[in-house]
Structure formats: structure tokens, C-alpha cells
């Protein structure tokens, strides 16, 4: 019976949901922001800074042994994002250790589940969003080897677990179109909710746990540290005040387009997308970092992979201070290791470098444990009058 599991994974979505209609091949559903990463950043040269503190674990992590004949399958969200991960981590790692990489560009929580349940695990290291990899998913994941991975150096505001370690940080930020705000700068989420002071439509991710509840509460005066547990009644009441002005997006590309074209004056957006709107599309788009939510993508190892040990060594390498910040050379996503210093030229575009006492962090554990209640409140608010 188990062998049908992988069929099920695809059929559950394809046959029933979309396949029986021409409902679509792509799925602009909520998925980790990195799945729609920023467009290409100029590939700068230069090192990613000094690999500072060298504890015993860190030095082992940064100096992996030769492992000829090993091939790791790395699954992430594709595009420029995965290219950055290749250039920053995989290529130097292959030079050092001889380990070869196969890349899959369709990271998905559902695929991990299907592979593990079917006993056919082909992914060794997977880059996942912040909604995966805590206790709720422990049946699907190998415990990480923290004797290799420098856990103590990791940004403690992110949510590590026995099964996941953050690899890049990004921000959920307020992006605004300077043409539409007529040169004025919105100071934070209170201005996003003030359509008198700043006329125009507002973009928002159509996903209950994407950040809109948090932003509504911050706009209403809740301090970042006091966001959780979410006061859903208060948040929906605040959201009601701009309900008719909201424009929902369901993919990163869409958000970039909405703010770039001026269809919305402001939007909640992932910092990489706002960066691309400005630097790639050359649109009048700026980021207000104040009251951003700093979050991360995480690396996990599916349970039962035959390359478990090699996977741990690679994750340790990508986490260590000397290497962790390197993707930021190619894409405005920042390090997760406190000791890993990005190139100073890139710092101004990174979420984690712009974090301050007004920044918030997702409480991933709360969000995962309370998804049903949070999502029900979101659906009810959307459907209400």
C-alpha cells in the first residue's frame, strides 16, 4: 500500500485539484518566499569576509574531509536563489571534498513526506520555508549533527530545532512605490493602514501566516516582542479598516509586478523581490525596513537518506562562519551565522543587517501549532462583510 504514497502525493494535487480541470500547471499558492527569489544580482567578486571565531566544531565544519564518490541531491526553490546556493556553497565544496551535487529545483514539504513514507528518499539536503522542520515534522526528518554544525553561532532570534538549521535570512518588509507616495516616506505599518495620508491600494500576500496579522497588530501599536499569541480579533478589526483597498498576491513575481507598476502604492513584500523591482526592473520602489519581520529558510535532511553523514557535513560547511554569508554575494539574502560577515557593499540590502529593536520575528512554533485557528480567522475575515 505504501508504494502508492508517491502517486498519492501528486494525484492528490494534480488529479483532484487541478488535473481534472485545466486549473493550471503552476501553483501560486503560499510557498516559501525563496521559491520566487530575486532576479539576478550582479555577481560580485571578493570574499565574503573573514571566518572569525574558530571553535573546534567550526573548524571541522569549515574544513570537511575528502569524500570521493559521494553525490548529494540538493533540493531548493530554483532560479537565481538556487544558483546563489550553488556558487556560494556547492562549487567550493566540490573542489574541497570531491562531493558531487545533483540539484532539484522543486523543494516541497509534500514531496519530503511522500519520499519518506514511500521509503524512496532521493533528496539528501532540502531547503525549506519557516513552516517546516519543527517537532510536528520529526517523523520525516533526520536529527541534525550539532557536533558538526555550529549551533551556538546561529542567530538565536530564528527558530532552530533538532531537525532544521537556518541557512539564509530574508525580510518581510514594507515596499512602496515612490511615484505613488509622491516622494513621502511611509514610516511603518501605521502608514500602510493610513489611506488618507497615503492614498492608493495596498498589496498583501494571500496567506494567513504570511505576516498580515502581525503587521496589522504592529500598526495598531503592538510591540514586536508582544505579537504572540496573536490577538486575532484585534488584528482582523485593524484589517477591516483597509479591506477595500487590499490587493492580494500569491507569488513573489506578482508582488514585484504590483509594486513596480504602481498598481499598489505599498505592499508587503519579500526584500529580495523589492530589491529586484528597483535594481532589475528599474522601477521607483523602495523598502521601509522599520517593523520588518526577519525570517529564514532552513536546511533539513529527510529521514532515511542513504547519504545522511555526507549531508550533515555539507550542512555544517554551509553553516560555518567562513561560508554562511556567501549567497549574499549573488542575492540579497543574508547570513544566519552571527559570526559570518557579508561583503560590506551588500549589507544595506540584507534584512538581518537592517534588523533593530522594532524588527519582529515569526514565532514559527506558535504559527505551526495554531495554524488551524489562525487560518480560520483569516478565511472568516476574508469572507465576512
Amino acid at each position: 500500500m505504501r508504494r502508492w504514497t508517491s502517486f498519492t502525493a501528486s494525484l492528490a494535487t494534480i488529479a483532484i485539484v487541478t488535473g481534472c480541470s485545466s486549473g493550471g500547471s503552476a501553483t501560486p499558492i503560499p510557498t516559501a518566499p525563496a521559491s520566487a527569489p530575486a532576479a539576478s544580482a550582479p555577481a560580485a567578486s571578493g570574499s565574503a569576509g573573514p571566518g572569525a571565531s574558530a571553535s573546534g566544531a567550526a573548524s571541522a565544519a569549515c574544513n570537511p574531509p575528502k569524500q570521493d564518490g559521494v553525490t548529494l541531491t540538493f533540493s531548493s526553490f530554483g532560479g537565481v536563489y538556487q544558483d546563489a546556493q550553488k556558487k556560494a556553497w556547492q562549487e567550493p565544496y566540490t573542489q574541497l571534498t570531491g562531493v558531487q551535487f545533483q540539484n532539484d529545483e522543486n523543494s516541497s514539504n509534500a514531496t519530503i513526506k511522500a519520499q519518506v513514507e514511500a521509503g524512496q528518499v532521493t533528496w539528501d539536503v532540502v531547503d525549506v520555508g519557516n513552516d517546516f522542520g519543527l517537532d510536528a515534522n520529526k517523523e520525516l526528518l533526520e536529527p541534525l549533527d550539532y557536533s558538526l554544525i555550529p549551533k551556538a553561532e546561529m542567530n538565536a532570534d530564528l527558530t532552530l530545532s533538532d531537525w532544521r538549521v537556518p541557512d539564509i535570512t530574508y525580510g518581510v518588509v514594507l515596499g512602496y512605490n515612490t511615484d505613488k507616495t509622491a516622494g513621502k516616506v511611509p514610516a511603518g505599518w501605521a502608514d500602510y493602514f493610513d489611506t488618507t495620508k497615503f492614498p492608493g491600494k495596498r498589496g498583501a500576500w494571500d496567506y494567513s501566516e504570511g505576516g498580515m496579522f502581525e503587521f496589522a497588530l504592529m500598526a495598531d501599536g503592538v510591540k514586536p516582542a508582544d505579537l504572540y499569541p496573536l490577538d486575532l480579533a484585534r488584528a482582523t478589526k485593524k484589517l477591516d479598516t483597509i479591506k477595500d483597498d487590499l490587493v492580494f498576491w500569491s507569488s513573489g513575481a506578482e508582488s514585484q509586478e504590483l509594486i513596480g507598476s504602481g498598481e499598489v502604492a505599498m505592499t508587503m513584500i519579500w526584500n529580495g523581490r523589492a530589491w529586484s523591482a528597483k535594481n532589475i526592473d528599474h522601477k521607483p520602489v523602495e523598502i521601509q525596513w522599520n517593523q520588518q519581520i526577519v525570517t529564514a529558510d532552513y536546511l533539513v535532511v529527510p529521514k532515511g537518506t542513504p547519504n545522511k553523514d555526507a549531508a550533515m557535513k555539507f550542512i555544517a560547511y554551509a553553516s560555518c562562519a567562513a561560508n554562511n554569508a556567501k549567497p549574499s554575494e549573488y542575492i540579497p539574502y543574508g547570513p544566519t551565522n552571527n559570526n559570518s560577515k557579508p561583503n560590506p557593499d551588500k549589507v544595506k540590502d540584507l534584512s538581518v543587517s537592517n534588523a533593530d529593536e522594532n524588527s519582529a520575528y515569526f514565532d514559527d512554533k506558535y504559527l505551526i501549532d495554531n495554524f488551524d485557528a489562525v487560518d480560520a480567522a483569516w478565511q472568516a475575515w476574508k469572507g465576512g462583510s
Binding site: 500500500m1 502508492w4 504514497t5 502517486f7 498519492t8 502525493a9 494525484l11 492528490a12 494535487t13 488529479a15 483532484i16 485539484v17 487541478t18 488535473g19 481534472c20 480541470s21 485545466s22 486549473g23 493550471g24 500547471s25 503552476a26 501553483t27 501560486p28 499558492i29 503560499p30 510557498t31 516541497s108 514539504n109 509534500a110 513526506k113 513552516d131 515534522n137 491600494k201 494571500d206 479591506k243 487590499l246 490587493v247 492580494f248 500569491s250 506578482e254 507598476s261 504602481g262 498598481e263 495554524f371 487560518d375 480560520a376 478565511q379 472568516a380 476574508k382 469572507g383
Partner: protein
């Protein structure tokens, strides 16, 4: 040879006794096996998850769904949008199919290409195209603003109307083709006979064409309706806050939440309701017309 054997041979020669199974039917065997392995088995396995996941779930996933007022609202909304799209497709598709039957063959061919052309580009591209046309900074609103006809953009997008426009465009071929297939089989002599007997063109249409083409129209409606139920990308891109479809919730549960029990429960609810619709419709329409008409000559 016994008498009986002789008799039976004779009967067989006369074709009275036929083999129990038409051997040609065996040709369908690979297709049947294929369906069993790749469609039915996963479907059964998947549906069973709705009552076995989490362990000992029973009907709890279904209770959870129907307890959740906002989820049920999304379900009813799904049907409402499907009904509206079907209606619009019928209003446009029926006259179009009629036009295809009355114009000369070459023109009919061009019209058929016009209907089929959208099939050759991706659904996502077509939906994005509608976005570019309909949005506040889109072609229509910009044009009307430049003419000074409007000062505020018309709410074309992020409304149910936007969803219906996009979905009708995508689903229209599924309405036109079955109707056209049925209309083509209606003998034009009937119309001439009616005229000969003194019927006005309108009367001839309503007494001859309409009733005879009705199976095609019903077939088209059924196809469009069932297909529309599974949509979610178009509503997500062109609709407003309230235009959510059930498929979106299912994808969220299956791909992201990994709550396959709850996700499959919602799928099963959608599937069962679709079956009910098909069953009720099968009393009115021959399903043969739905699934066979487009390829029949």
C-alpha cells in the same frame, strides 16, 4: 457428431448464438489496466486517507470541515462561481456554435480556430494577460482615463466579474465544441421543411434548432461546470477577497500543511458533490454526448 452439436454449429453459422464476450473489447484491456493502476488505485488510497489520517481519524476530518463556517462558505462560493461561468459560457457559446453551423465551411473553420487558439497557450499566461488588460493600471482603464471618460479606475479586476471573465474565456471551447458537434448533425432539410410549411425563421429556430441542439448545450454546460469546480489560479489572480475556490484550500493542506487527511477529506467532498451533479445531469443528458460528442463526426 451428435445432433445437438450439429444444431449448435448451424445456429452459430446463422449467428443466433454469439460469443459471450466481444473479443475486440479485449483491445481496451491495456487502457482499463492503466486506469486501474494509475487512477483508481491512487484515488482509493487517497480517499482512504481522509478517514485514516491522523490515525483513528474516522469522520473527524469531515466534521472539522463542515464545522468551519468559512471553509463551507468557500465551498459554496466554488459552486456559485462555477454556475456563473457556465451561464456566461452558454450565453456566448451557443450563438457562436450556431454561427459556426450556418456560415460556409471555410468561415466555420476559421471560427473553430478562433475558439481553439487559446488552447495553445498556457492557462497561466492567459490569466496574466487578463490581469494586464483588466487591472487599475491596465489597458482598459488607462485608455478610458486618457479619453476622460472616467476619473477613477473601473473595478474590473479583483471582483467576481473579473473571475467570470477570465474563467469564461478559458472554458469557452468546452461549451462551443459539444454544441457545434450536435448542431452539425441536425439535418438542414428540417429547417427548409419548416420554412416550406410557413414557419418564420425565428419560429423554425425555436421549434427545430433549439430542441434538437439542447443535448449539446446541456453537455457543454456539464463539461464547463465540472471543469470550473477545480479552478483556483484564475480566481486567485483575477478575483477579490471573497472569490476563493476550494481547490486553493486543498493545495494549502496537501502541499504546505501536510495535513493530507484534511486535504483529502476536502477533495472527497468536492468529488462526491461533483458525482452527484453528474448523476443528476445524467438523467437529463446522455453522458455519451458530453464525453463523445466532440470527437464524433
Amino acid at each position: 457428431m451428435s445432433d445437438a452439436a450439429v444444431a449448435s454449429t448451424a445456429q452459430r453459422r446463422r449467428g443466433v448464438i454469439r460469443p459471450g464476450v466481444n473479443r475486440w473489447a479485449l483491445l481496451a484491456l491495456p487502457a482499463v489496466v492503466f486506469l486501474l493502476i494509475f487512477f483508481l488505485a491512487p484515488l482509493v488510497e487517497m480517499s482512504s486517507r481522509s478517514v485514516t489520517e491522523p490515525p483513528g481519524a474516522g469522520l473527524s476530518n469531515y466534521v472539522k470541515f463542515f464545522d468551519q463556517e468559512s471553509y463551507v462558505r468557500v465551498l459554496t462560493n466554488t459552486f456559485w462561481i462555477a454556475v456563473l461561468s457556465t451561464g456566461v459560457c452558454l450565453l456566448i457559446g451557443y450563438p457562436f456554435a450556431y454561427l459556426m453551423t450556418v456560415v460556409p465551411g471555410r468561415v466555420a473553420g476559421l471560427l473553430a480556430i478562433a475558439v481553439l487558439l487559446p488552447f495553445w497557450s498556457s492557462l497561466l499566461v492567459r490569466t496574466f494577460a487578463w490581469q494586464v488588460i483588466l487591472r487599475d493600471t491596465g489597458i482598459i482603464n488607462r485608455f478610458l482615463e486618457s479619453l476622460g471618460v472616467i476619473s477613477e479606475p473601473l473595478p474590473l479586476i479583483r471582483t467576481t466579474a473579473g473571475v467570470i471573465i477570465g474563467m469564461s474565456h478559458i472554458l469557452l471551447p468546452f461549451m462551443v465544441l459539444p454544441i457545434w458537434a450536435v448542431m452539425r448533425r441536425i439535418d438542414p432539410e428540417y429547417g427548409r421543411a419548416a420554412a416550406n410549411l410557413g414557419a418564420s425563421p425565428a419560429r423554425a429556430f425555436f421549434r427545430i434548432m433549439l430542441p434538437l441542439s439542447l443535448p449539446g448545450a446541456l453537455a457543454g454546460c456539464l463539461l464547463v461546470f465540472v471543469l470550473a469546480l477545480g479552478f483556483y489560479i484564475t480566481p486567485a489572480l483575477l478575483g477579490g477577497l471573497r472569490d476563493q475556490m476550494i481547490s486553493q484550500l486543498i493545495v494549502q493542506q496537501v502541499q504546505q500543511r501536510l495535513d493530507w487527511g484534511f486535504g483529502t477529506a476536502m477533495s472527497v467532498v468536492l468529488m462526491l458533490i461533483t458525482f452527484v451533479v453528474l448523476f443528476v445531469a445524467s438523467r437529463a443528458v446522455r453522458l455519451r454526448d458530453v464525453f463523445g460528442s466532440a470527437v464524433e463526426d
